[in-house]
Symmetry: C2
Subunit: 199 residues, 2 copies
DNA sequence: CATTATCCGTAATTGCCGTTACGGTTTCTG
DNA sequence: CAGAAACCGTAACGGCAATTACGGATAATG
């Protein structure tokens, strides 16, 4: 099979996996259900992804890569560091509380082996946290913020931005916040951060 | 069966349910596995709890009730409102990131119906949030804090206190914080809160 | 155009789950 | 102490999961 059609087929399969996962949860997302939804054979799924864990690993990897790209674009968008953070905050919140990320977090919570959670942490959080740290350090260099430990500040910012929205989403206690809500939370988090770490 | 032995037996069964849940996850926590662990019959489990959902509902209810009692004791411990908050914060964090609460949140994330998540929200968060709101309003009445919207302040405080520790715990990306870590986070959250809402 | 690898659809295998059912035994009750 | 109720252990039932296997169709390759 040509590489391009194969990639397109994989995108279809992974899209079907998300659809089933969002509808039925991790336990209901059987390989056969995903195969049926993608009009693919389960043999193909096993050949390409090894097993169920492998398929969900692929979902995590792709989702994390897309998030990284999006954040990089926001950072490259110009302006000073705090302006970038103002754009980035709502976008990050929207992704983390969106259907796909929530479905993956639920899958990780349901995975008895804990491998999915490790993957989410490794390829998601632990690669985007440094990006935010860099922005904060830029802001300090530009004289917009003043602090000693960038790790603390980043944690405070993320706590203010995300709060308990993500966990409430994961346990099914909340709908996804719309764009306005994300913007409002991003704005508030940044405003509080400025007050806490004013130069 | 006498009520006291029955209650003791229920405590044993629910303890066994936690043990299996923590070891095997929600999908691995079958009724038979729990019955075996508790040296009970599955017929008893079904007679007492109805079905699997009913058993986990009972776990949520009991856990939430214990948390409420603990918080009430902390509040009743005397001192001004901020002193109570200083005691309460680390204790709350310890419970929310402890093995039992984490196991229940994982179960809620894995539950396709979403009922468990609803129960956790209803009997857990939505009954303890007002307690914290009361403390904050007391602090304002005592002149220790100044703010308009208590809901906002409470959300900021909880965000600072808990951050993403809970979600990271639930997806298996973190060990439970020890007492020192909980105390440190509680202290920091309170210090930041005071700076943000100084009179 | 023929061959060859790949993919689809379906079925088979194995195993465990939730739930119900049923003797045998323990424990309460009067 | 006798009868009744509740509990234990085990088994049975239907269902669905993950994974493997296989013939027929399809598309890439030389």
């Amino acid at each position: 099979m040509r590489d391009e059609t194969r990639e397109a087929r994989q995108a279809q399969i992974e899209s079907a996996a998300y659809a089933v996962l969002e509808e039925k949860g991790y336990s209901g997302a059987s390989m056969l259900a995903i195969a049926r939804r993608a009009k693919a054979s389960n043999e193909t799924l096993y050949n390409w992804y090894g097993d169920k864990t492998g398929l969900f690993h692929a979902l995590v990897r792709r989702n994390a890569a897309e998030l990284r790209e999006m954040l990089a674009a926001q950072i490259a968008g110009g302006g000073d560091a705090l302006a970038a953070l103002e754009r980035l905050g709502p976008a990050l919140l929207a992704v983390l509380t969106g259907e796909r990320a929530v479905a993956l977090n639920r899958a990780a919570a349901a995975d008895p082996t804990g491998e999915l959670g490790q993957a989410i942490g490794r390829e998601g959080r632990e690669t985007i946290a440094p990006l935010i740290g860099q922005l904060l350090e830029q802001a300090r260099a530009q004289g917009a913020l003043a602090f000693d430990e960038v790790d603390d500040v980043r944690e405070v910012y993320l706590g203010l931005l995300i709060g308990d929205v993500q966990i409430r989403r994961v346990i099914g206690r909340m709908e996804a916040p719309d764009a306005a809500a994300c913007a409002a939370r991003g704005k508030r988090a940044l405003a509080l951060l400025k007050r806490l770490y004013a130069p």
